[in-house]
């Protein structure tokens, strides 16, 4: 069934779902490959589908763009959901990034990726959004002065810790050789952040 070519309104609808920010008509057109005129027609049909009288999701034309949002008359349910929802558990990767910031921080995104051996930018972004990681300064020794990341009060609260000293010391977790190797990676020049 998904073999059918999608209709113009479907394409616009899908793109609207994956953006939290309003999208301009021209950005919608370029993502969907529709003409200006087709985009306009698609938006008109979506405005009908997502009208406040007939839907819990409404199409809004705000700040020079279009965006889906919840119908204000459903705000009570949304607020209750927010109160009751259990936060998504953190992934193993997220735990590792937090461990890097806790034990080796403040450090740059590049340093996190070097220590972990994988690009960690997406995980870092998610943790900043969740208020567990924050930018605490910039590294002036590295070109571009990238931000230095550290754990937040929110992180300490979530772990029930008063301060970073509450965690077991690093040398109780890894061997001296491993620690040396970690330090080597940390200082292996921020300029060649990418893997060879």
């Amino acid at each position: 069934m998904s073999d059918l070519p999608p209709r113009p309104a479907h394409l616009v609808e899908a793109v609207l779902l994956v953006s939290a920010r309003p999208i301009s008509r021209s950005d919608l057109a370029s993502a969907t490959g529709l003409s200006e005129h087709e985009t306009e027609a698609a938006l008109a049909s979506l405005a009908e589908r997502y009208a406040p009288e007939s839907s819990g999701i409404v199409l809004r034309n705000v700040a020079g763009g279009y965006s889906l949002s919840t119908n204000p008359n459903c705000a009570g349910a949304v607020e209750r959901f927010r109160e009751e929802a259990r936060p998504a558990p953190l992934s193993g990767a997220a735990h590792e990034v937090l461990a890097c910031a806790l034990y080796l921080g403040p450090l740059t995104r590049g340093a996190v990726s070097r220590v972990r051996g994988v690009n960690s930018d997406a995980v870092v972004r998610g943790l900043i959004e969740r208020g567990l990681l924050t930018e605490v300064g910039t590294d002036r020794d590295v070109p571009g002065s990238p931000a230095l990341l550290g754990v937040t009060e929110g992180f300490l609260a979530a772990t029930g810790s008063a301060s970073p000293e509450d965690f077991p010391p690093l040398d109780s977790l890894v061997t001296p050789e491993e620690l040396d190797r970690v330090r080597e990676r940390l200082t292996s020049s921020g300029t060649e952040g990418e893997a060879p």
Partner: protein, 241 residues
């Protein structure tokens, strides 16, 4: 055996495969780092593409052939380990007692089921690809997230202790050349079709792998035909023509 020493002679050999295109040495590195699945590397195509790039007249031609045979044999060994895991008792490091045929059969059947399940999963992932979730997410109230401090320490241990290179000790030295084995195979074929199993019954694992590489080369040259009626089934070498 490590792959470092072959850097010079094969540095100009590049491959074009569905799963990878680029220098051959990088392909080896990717496979060793488990970043490319050996299963997905068509070894026969790899051998064919090497044979096409062969320069017997070059000063380092022999060295190059030997390096290729060595690394190709190691790849075949790796692949055979993946295909028949039960045959490798060293996977966990310790030297275990050889498995009885019954135990072997038990482990192989378990692995066969997992292989099938993996194929099923591949189809499931493919038919469900392209679903993207809503970005209109309301963040949960601050303070609702609880993290276990032990989990953070464990993550630290994991992140900081795995900077070791992948183990390649199980790849021992190669003591025969592809040419010697090719000669052996030709001699055996003089008496008609021969099974790979009986051909290699006296060999150790590495030589079996090199013999396989030799058989592939000969098949490519057209000197013999390889037939296998089903996956994991017996492999038969037949004189061509």
């Amino acid at each position: 055996m490590t792959f470092e020493p072959l850097g010079r002679s094969l540095s100009d050999f590049t491959v074009e495969l569905d799963v990878y295109s680029g220098p051959y040495e990088w392909l080896l590195a990717l496979i060793l780092k488990d970043e490319l699945e050996i299963f997905e590397v068509p070894l026969r195509e790899l051998v064919e593409s090497y044979l096409l790039s062969r320069e017997p007249e070059a000063a380092n031609g022999l060295e190059r052939d030997t390096d290729f045979a060595g690394s190709a044999a190691a790849l075949i060994l790796l692949k055979s380990r993946t295909l028949s895991p039960a045959l490798d008792a060293e996977a966990e490091g310790g030297e275990e007692e050889p498995l009885s045929p019954e135990e072997l059969a038990g482990r192989l059947t378990e692995y066969m089921k997992i292989r099938r399940a993996a194929e099923h999963l591949r189809a499931r992932f493919a038919s469900n690809a392209g679903h993207y979730p809503s970005a209109h997410v309301v963040p949960p109230r601050p303070g609702r997230l609880h993290l276990r401090p032990e989990r953070i320490s464990l993550a630290a241990r994991q992140a900081f202790s795995r900077l070791l290179e992948p183990p390649v000790r199980h790849l021992g030295p190669i003591t025969v050349t592809l040419q010697q084995l090719a000669g052996l195979i030709r001699a055996a074929l003089a008496g008609g079709p021969v099974s790979y199993e009986s051909l290699t019954s006296e060999m150790d694992r590495l030589n079996r792998a090199v013999a396989f590489a030799a058989a592939l080369s000969l098949a490519q040259e057209g000197s013999l035909k390889l037939s296998q009626t089903e996956p994991l089934g017996p492999l038969t070498l037949e004189p061509s023509g």
